[in-house]
């Protein structure tokens, strides 16, 4: 059996397990949007601690401010599988900050980086809701990346399905897109666009969908011991009447490879 077939079989088995285990586990709620575009590329042996958050202000369905913060631990076990365990805090209108969900995120790198025209990975995430009345959820979809000269572009398409007795029947589709100029490691300017379009079989009317876009700064600072600090900071502007006017997002990550 060729090496490619063996690797492909291992990848499909791991991916199937990551999707099937949450499905079999029973009850499931959609995670709050964390406004993070995921790369399909993973580095074996890399450990990371990440903190991310977002605050939305202005025009919103309920006219109030929303906040969401996540802290996660991740490790890349093989050349193609990265797993991350994430705790999520969120604040809904008229409520304090509460623990909202525990997320188990898996990224599977399907193609070796740079071998083909497009780099491809898959996301499989299970979100265990902690808020009363909320449902658990599974989320999965392709992670695509392509470099054009000094510009690195990444597209995530995500399908999210609530699971549980009170869950909504449909599967929601959303996307995240990032284009960044690879200027120098400490500072890479770029843009991000995020959208939620509704159920995949009954997309919402365009003005009822949520789309936001804006400038984001990215960077990596080396610590000299093999460790790195990565950051992202940006401001996303609401593009439809069903999207908050503004969203501030940030991400801070420490990673080290062994």
């Amino acid at each position: 059996m060729s090496r490619w077939l063996r690797n492909a079989r291992r990848r499909i088995i791991c991916l199937s397990a990551a999707v099937a285990v949450p499905l079999l586990a029973g009850a499931f709620t959609p995670a709050a949007a964390d406004f993070k575009v995921l790369s399909p590329i993973v580095t074996k042996g890399e450990f990371e601690i990440e903190s991310a958050g977002s605050v939305t202000r202005g025009r919103h369905r309920d006219g109030e401010e929303h906040q969401s913060y996540t802290t996660s631990l991740g490790y890349t076990f093989t050349d193609f599988w990265q797993a991350e365990l994430e705790g999520e805090l969120s604040q809904e209108p008229d409520e304090g900050l509460k623990y909202a969900a525990t997320n188990f995120e898996n990224i599977f790198q399907i193609l070796p980086q740079g071998e083909y025209w497009l780099d491809l990975g898959l996301l499989a995430e299970y979100s265990r809701a902690k808020r009363a009345g909320a449902n658990d959820a599974v989320e999965f979809g392709p992670l695509l990346q392509k470099q054009f000269g000094d510009f690195l572009t990444t597209l995530n398409v995500t399908l999210e399905k609530q699971i549980g007795s009170r869950s909504e029947a449909g599967t929601e589709i959303g996307y995240g897109f990032q284009a960044r100029y690879r200027w120098w490691p400490g500072l890479e300017p770029g843009i991000e666009v995020f959208g939620d379009m509704g159920e995949i079989t009954h997309l919402k009317a365009a003005d009822r969908q949520a789309h936001r876009a804006g400038p984001v700064l990215f960077g990596t600072l080396r610590l000299g011991n093999g460790g790195k600090i990565k950051y992202e900071a940006g401001y996303l502007i609401g593009l439809t009447r069903n999207t908050p006017d503004g969203t501030v997002k940030f991400l801070l990550e420490y990673e080290v490879a062994f």
């Binding site: 580095t43 070796p112 980086q113 071998e115 083909y116 999965f140 979809g141 690879r182 080396r222």
Partner: protein, 112 residues
């Protein structure tokens, strides 16, 4: 429906992998890590085409091939090797380093 679509995605990925052209063996370039240094330190590759770097780590300790210029990052355990695909590159110099021993492990890809 969602499981079916997931399977379709996995199948599509397989088709994409099979259908895409592989890099020819003639485009293979060997880079060695020894005593926490790259050998050669400057490696010439053809511009405008995809090439394959075979990085052999002859040291007992791991090293991370890291290059912002090439957008590549790969940990190579001690005594092992890894394949890194790069390009197509515009003519020019692209720096890389060994993240774990950056004081000595420095190198450059020259695309001509």
């Amino acid at each position: 429906m969602t499981i079916k679509r997931c399977l379709m995605l996995v199948t599509a990925a397989g088709v994409l992998q099979i259908a895409a052209p592989a890099v020819a063996d003639s485009d293979l370039f060997v880079l060695t890590i020894k005593d926490h240094r790259f050998q050669p330190e400057v490696i010439e590759v053809p511009a405008g085409q995809k090439v394959k770097l075979l990085v052999r780590n002859l040291d007992a300790t791991p090293e991370e091939f890291d290059s912002h210029d090439l957008n590549r990052e790969k940990v190579i355990p001690g005594g092992q090797e890894a394949i890194i695909f790069i390009g197509p590159l515009r003519p020019g110099a692209y720096r890389f380093e060994g993240e774990f021993h950056a004081g000595t492990a420095q190198g450059k890809v020259l695309a001509k």
